[in-house]
């Protein structure tokens, strides 16, 4: 549905994004994950036709967002990060206005208005002036205008930022619901959110895509690392060399919490070292108090991929 090739965008001499390539299939929910300033918003602005890329192309349903801007814009619903709204209009008149701008007939707007305000739970506030609404409700109005014209592609920039936790849950559910028949591109810097909602994740940092996979694969197969957490009763100075000597162990980190000595063991992927470790501990006469496999959370992957120093 969306195909981006070699996207590069400069603000003055500074590159916001560099050589970004990705594709989004119809009906897929794609998440852009990255710290602030990584280039998520710039990428979304290019997709929606607000800024053209300095280099590279994006096609949306086959239409080039620069050359055939009008056609591609017809197919997009967009929620910018700042949720810009006309604060002196009522919810209803705002939605009607946006609908007209999107080329909907008055009849079509009328029939969609009820649905949209239901879906976004704006029912009681249709006549309220937008300036008087809370941040959470403004967010809903923002989503309502984005889905009003039933666009094929929904672009949502940080859709859950700055709203309360209950509304966050509702918004995520709503996005998942919409993702069933629409293509959704969203950005976030909250990892659990992305792993919960998205079919696929692009991790973006300093304007470049550093990883791309399903949330599941990213968590599992990251750089072939598996980790174990072991609690051992025994002299630390002796335990560490023994653990390190086990085949497949790449690193051992010791931590002492109230005289409970735990060791975090990194191992090459695909190896189950639990048996080898327990045997080594017991044959040395120490006590094995705990043994547990630890997966790597997306949070760690994210940090790992987006920071230069080893953690």
């Amino acid at each position: 549905m969306i195909q981006a090739e070699g996207l590069t965008h400069y603000y003055g001499p500074y590159p916001a994004i560099q050589d970004v390539n990705f594709g989004v299939r119809k009906g897929e929910i794609l998440g852009f994950l990255g710290p602030n300033g990584a280039g998520k918003t710039t990428t979304m602005r290019i997709i929606t036709g607000f800024v053209p890329p300095t280099r590279g192309t994006v096609t949306l349903d086959g239409f080039d967002v620069v050359e055939q801007s009008l056609e591609s814009r017809r197919r997009v619903g967009y929620l910018p990060e700042t949720v810009p709204l006309y604060t002196d209009m009522s919810v209803n008149s705002y939605l009607k206005y946006m609908g007209t701008l999107r080329g909907m007939s008055p009849k079509a707007i009328k029939s969609r208005l009820g649905d949209v305000t239901d879906v976004c739970r704006l029912g009681d506030y249709q006549k309220t002036q937008i300036g008087k609404l809370s941040k959470g409700f403004r967010q809903r109005v923002g989503i309502a205008q984005a889905i009003l014209h039933e666009p094929q592609v929904l672009v949502l920039d940080e859709p859950t930022i700055g709203i309360d936790p209950i509304q966050v849950v509702e918004t995520r559910r709503l996005i998942q619901e919409l993702g069933k028949d629409q293509t959704v591109v969203l950005s976030s810097h909250i990892l659990p959110e992305v792993s919960m909602i998205c079919d696929r994740v692009l991790i973006i940092n300093e304007g470049r895509i550093v990883a791309e996979d399903t949330p599941k694969n990213l968590a599992e197969g990251l750089q072939g690392v598996e980790r174990l957490e072991v609690e051992i009763g025994g002299p630390v100075a002796e335990v560490i060399p023994v653990l390190k000597a086990i085949r497949g162990v790449t690193d051992v980190v010791h931590a002492n919490r109230d005289d409970r000595h735990t060791y975090t063991i990194q191992a090459e992927s695909g190896q189950d070292l639990r048996d080898a470790i327990s045997q080594a501990v017991i044959s040395n006469g120490w006590s094995l108090r705990g043994l547990q496999m630890v997966g790597m959370s997306l949070e760690e992957i994210f940090l790992r991929l987006t920071t230069h120093e080893e953690l």
Partner: protein
């Protein structure tokens, strides 16, 4: 075209619900009222609207920018321009919609000033020619001033900057005819011909000259064209 209409209609609603527009209206009527009555105290007053027309264009140097400054500067400030420009709306539709809205409000102000003309026709028998011509000129002049104000509003996200720059351009064009004397040769002619007032004065005296009509229509077209281009260029920044 329907989208241009929607833009215009929304802006018109904002005009008629915003205090700025009413303040502008009040000041326009108060000041032009003053100009209208100025000569009436003469022992043998002339039944004419010429003082009103002469005063109105000075008033509009100040008030036209106040009417147009909000049109696009506010959209940039609020960020709503992002949704406007990502909607399937052509740039000229946005500009024309906004322009037409300001024009409608301006025409309402002009219509309110018909009061002076009616007074004149009721209590005296003025020569109708200069009245019609004067109004025709005033409408052309106001339309040009609004187009200039619209351009400066597309160039910034600061309404004050937009208004001040528009006033600067209008004042420069207002006094440009002084170049006829002070700047020698062709340059003086060219700058002088660009002056708003010399083209307007004929109308206020009751003369409808095609040159003057062409002049004002060119100014309107030129500044609207620049506005559309400026809006387009936002996409490239």
């Amino acid at each position: 075209m329907r989208t241009a209409q929607a833009v215009a209609w929304k802006e018109i609603q904002i005009y008629f619900s915003s205090p700025t527009a009413y303040i502008v209206g009040l000041i326009f009527l108060a000041l032009t009222g003053f100009f209208f009555t100025q000569d009436l105290g003469d022992p043998f007053p002339e039944a004419t609207l010429t003082p009103f027309f002469d005063g109105a264009i000075i008033v509009f140097v100040l008030l036209a920018p106040a009417l147009t400054m909000r049109l696009l500067a506010e959209e940039s400030k609020l960020g709503t321009i992002e949704l406007l420009l990502t909607s399937p709306v052509r740039d000229w539709e946005i500009i024309i919609g906004k322009y037409v809205a300001s024009l409608v409000f301006f025409l309402v102000l002009v219509a309110l000033s018909f009061f002076y003309a009616i007074l004149l026709f009721v209590y005296a028998s003025p020569d109708p020619g200069p009245v019609y011509a004067g109004y025709f000129g005033l409408i052309l002049y106001g339309s040009a001033a609004l187009a200039i104000g619209l351009l400066t509003s597309t160039m910034t996200n600061n309404q004050i900057v937009s208004a001040v720059v528009a006033m600067g351009i209008l004042l420069a064009l207002f006094f440009a005819d002084r170049a006829f004397g002070s700047v020698s040769g062709l340059a003086g002619e060219i700058i002088g011909e660009m002056g708003l007032r010399s083209h307007y004065d004929d109308f206020a005296r009751g003369v409808i000259d095609t040159t003057n009509i062409v002049y004002f229509l060119s100014v309107i077209a030129f500044f609207l064209f620049l506005s559309i281009r400026t809006l387009e260029s936002r996409r490239w920044r």
